[in-house]
């Protein structure tokens, strides 16, 4: 398990230059650039498409936090994403909660689910960890399928009202909603960035690279792993809850195992263990699905080919390759 993250992270020289001033400046400039793109995007592109990208980018960021910095490959992240999206949609529609409360509640459910599943799963490593998360996520899927009263079964929860932000500002207009989503995304990104560069993040990386050593230094590895797991599940929940409000729909797709596979693909394409990689990966995959929608089953084939090529030739991902070229962690 450890080599998976370290081949990529260490391979791109991540550990070496973290305190480097020029790197900090580069990252700050990147954040400014991202903010600028976020401001311009809804005027250039179709806002719903941009919001979709943002939700998935946040989801991939959350997933990458666990894999790239916790060294844990989860094959069941759809569970937190999907369940949060159900809760957010349900409370907004049936309890009439305002969108921000619905999203918060969905996120909280993602966190609780992450705590329970995480406590079960982190006791095992590597492939077993991947399989347990997959099995737990499948249970969430079957739960969702069999509680149509709550989830609407295969119809999903449809016609979720976008409502009024804080009860004041109507989000019915795509642009209005966009600013909320952009703010959530940016907040999530900053949070992840802070966590990675905090002492907590450093310990997590130490555990990822050499668990026995970290334990011998007196760190309770499992507690750290669990915290990363919960944080990752919470942010995945935030992404799912937001997506439900954007598309006014929560459906079984969001809890199905292929969704877990998709987020792995996004992260892999963008660059495992890089800060900005998952964003690029999400843009590439979502755009691809959009452009290839008319091709039917070929979408699956193309996705499969990308998976294979990434694993064989391109393990650092897009951002990983760039980071290597400019010799700075991204």
């Amino acid at each position: 398990m450890t080599d998976l993250a370290s081949t990529d992270a260490a391979g791109s020289g991540l550990a070496l230059s973290e305190t480097d001033d020029s790197t900090a400046r580069l990252h700050r400039n990147l954040f400014i650039a991202i903010a600028a793109v976020l401001v311009v995007a809804p005027f250039v592109a179709y806002p719903i498409f941009v919001m979709k990208v943002l939700c998935f980018a946040l989801f991939a960021l959350a997933f990458n936090l666990l894999l790239g910095y916790g060294g844990l490959l989860s094959f069941g992240h759809a569970a937190y994403f999907g369940m949060a999206s159900y809760v957010s949609a349900y409370t907004a529609k049936h309890w009439g909660l305002t969108p921000e409360l619905a999203i918060l509640l969905g996120t909280a459910v993602g966190a609780v689910l992450g705590l329970v599943f995480g406590a079960l799963a982190i006791r095992r490593q590597g492939i077993y960890f991947a399989m347990i998360t997959l099995a737990l996520a499948q249970m969430v899927f079957f739960f969702s399928l069999q509680t149509p009263r709550f989830t609407g079964g295969e119809d999903g929860i449809q016609a979720v009202p976008r409502g009024k932000f804080l009860g004041l500002i109507s989000l019915a207009d795509d642009r209005a909603l966009y600013w909320l989503v952009a703010a959530i995304f940016l907040g999530g990104l900053l949070l992840i960035y802070r966590v990675i560069h905090s002492p907590f993040g450093q310990v997590c990386k130490a555990i990822r690279d050499n668990e026995p050593r970290a334990i011998s230094l007196g760190y309770r590895a499992n507690q750290y792993k669990l915290m990363v797991f919960v944080l990752s599940a919470t942010l995945a929940g935030l992404a799912g809850a937001t997506k439900a409000i954007v598309f006014q729909l929560a459906s079984l797709t969001d809890v199905y195992w292929t969704m877990s596979g998709e987020v792995v693909l996004m992260t892999l394409v963008g660059g495992l263990g890089t800060v900005f990689g998952p964003i690029v990966g999400a843009i590439v995959i979502v755009a691809m699905q959009n452009y290839l929608a008319t091709l039917g089953a070929w979408v699956t084939v193309v996705q499969g080919v990308i998976f294979v090529l990434c694993v064989l030739l391109f393990r650092e991902g897009i951002v990983g390759v760039i980071a290597k070229a400019i010799k700075k962690p991204l």
Binding site: I48, L145, E154, D155, Q158, L249, S251, A293, T294, T300
Partner: protein
């Protein structure tokens, strides 16, 4: 959507190149269905072909209506379907969406269509809610619905002596709806439901449930499922000698393509209800012949036929009103009687339910069939008024 942009630009270019036709109306129709999954064969590219045939037969160009057809795959997922629908309406200037099999996706599309005030003519989906409690002034439900299927198959089987039923129900909302509609019909006709089992969805092995059905001693086993669930259940019922043992199978949602994939050996004797069969009369045969040529030899399903018929009627309404304003066209469509070689004469009710006769078919024995696609023999005709839910019972808010 790159392809579509190119299409759109060419359309624009043609428009500009022909200033003489400045008066012409351009209609953009989107065929949204399953192009890769379970329902790709019964809808899929075939529905797009049917839509193109409607444009051709209507001679749209001569009548000053320019029709452009786009298509996309909703993968049977409501989220994918609603994303495409929004994009089509917001970005690509689509005026109406056709087909949309899979009830969950259809409900989502219908709802967005209402919100954006466009037109949705549904052919592929089954749920009777589309013209019932989820009805919309912008949606027409064209080809069939679960109520009509239950009326046809359930009613006929009870009358033929199959008065005790055991349901094998796929454990999801659509399966439950099929079971609900069918058991109501069975009870109404004097039959009785002796049991039901919920099968995990989607399933591959039904042998265990078939044994339970066998043990129930019910005369009829109602299959409240769809797609590969149905075909697997039928196949395995043959294997376990269910039909040979005297119990009958009733498929509540079976399409021509399902029978094709089962083969007559496994499907023979199955009773089912459809609103269209290619070999019904000269009109359907001639049309189906042309269709099959374009569709790699595969005959049309009722869903594909419904796409043709629905688009044809829409175009007639556009021609008559010289407008593509949704409210105007919808009003005209509901006012005008419908007529085409595939479904004959019919009408559209205020709740958006297209009315036409339904037909009860029995699947032929291999010895009776003349070859591929010669699968059904007609048992009886169910007049539209009996087949579809009485207007007052639909629970549709558009009905006063």
């Amino acid at each position: 959507m790159q392809l579509k942009t190119i299409l759109a630009t060419t359309a624009l270019a043609t428009l500009m190149a022909a200033p003489a036709l400045a008066q012409q109306i351009t209609v953009k129709a989107g065929v949204l269905n399953d192009r890769s999954g379970l329902y790709a064969d019964l809808a899929g590219e075939g529905s797009v072909i049917a839509a193109r045939m409607a444009v051709e037969d209507f001679k749209a160009a001569e009548k000053g209506i320019k029709v452009e057809i786009v298509s996309a795959d909703h993968q049977n997922k409501p989220d994918v379907g609603s994303t495409i629908t929004r994009q089509w309406y917001d970005q690509d200037g689509v005026d109406l969406i056709l087909d949309v099999p899979t009830s969950s996706v259809a409900l989502a599309v219908s709802q967005i269509t209402k919100e954006k005030n466009k037109v949705h003519i549904n052919s592929g989906a089954g749920t009777s809610d589309l013209s019932g409690k989820a009805c919309s002034p912008n949606t027409i439900h064209w080809t069939y619905d679960t109520y009509a299927l239950a009326q046809g198959t359930g009613g006929a089987m009870v009358k033929a002596g199959g008065d005790s039923w055991f349901f094998m129900t796929a454990d999801y909302a659509f399966g439950h709806a099929l079971e609900r509609d069918a058991s109501a019909t069975v009870t109404k006709n004097g039959g009785k439901v002796v049991g039901a089992v919920r099968t995990p969805f989607p399933g591959t092995d039904f042998s265990s449930f078939l044994l339970q059905a066998q043990a129930s001693k019910a005369k009829v086993i109602g299959l409240a499922n769809a797609g590969s669930d149905t075909t697997n259940a039928i196949k395995q019922a043959g294997e376990f000698g269910i039909v040979a043992g005297g119990q009958k199978l009733a498929g509540l949602l079976v399409f021509l393509t399902d029978v094709h994939s089962l083969g007559l050996q496994a499907a023979q004797g199955l009773v089912l209800t459809e609103s269209f069969y290619w070999d019904r009369d000269d009109g359907t045969r001639a049309w189906s012949e042309r269709f099959a040529k374009l569709n790699g030899g595969k005959k049309p399903t009722m869903v594909q036929a419904g796409v043709y018929s629905g688009l044809l009627h829409y175009l007639k309404a556009v021609e008559a009103t010289k407008s593509k304003d949704s409210a105007t066209v919808m009003a005209k469509m509901k006012e005008m009687p419908t007529e085409d070689p595939l479904f004959g004469k019919g009408s559209i009710r205020p709740n958006g339910r297209k009315m036409h006769d339904m037909y009860l078919y029995e699947v032929k024995k291999p010895s009776e069939s003349k070859g591929p696609w010669d699968y059904y023999k007609q048992v009886s005709v169910l007049p539209a008024e009996q087949a579809f839910q009485p207007l007052a019972e639909t629970g549709c808010s558009l009905v006063k």
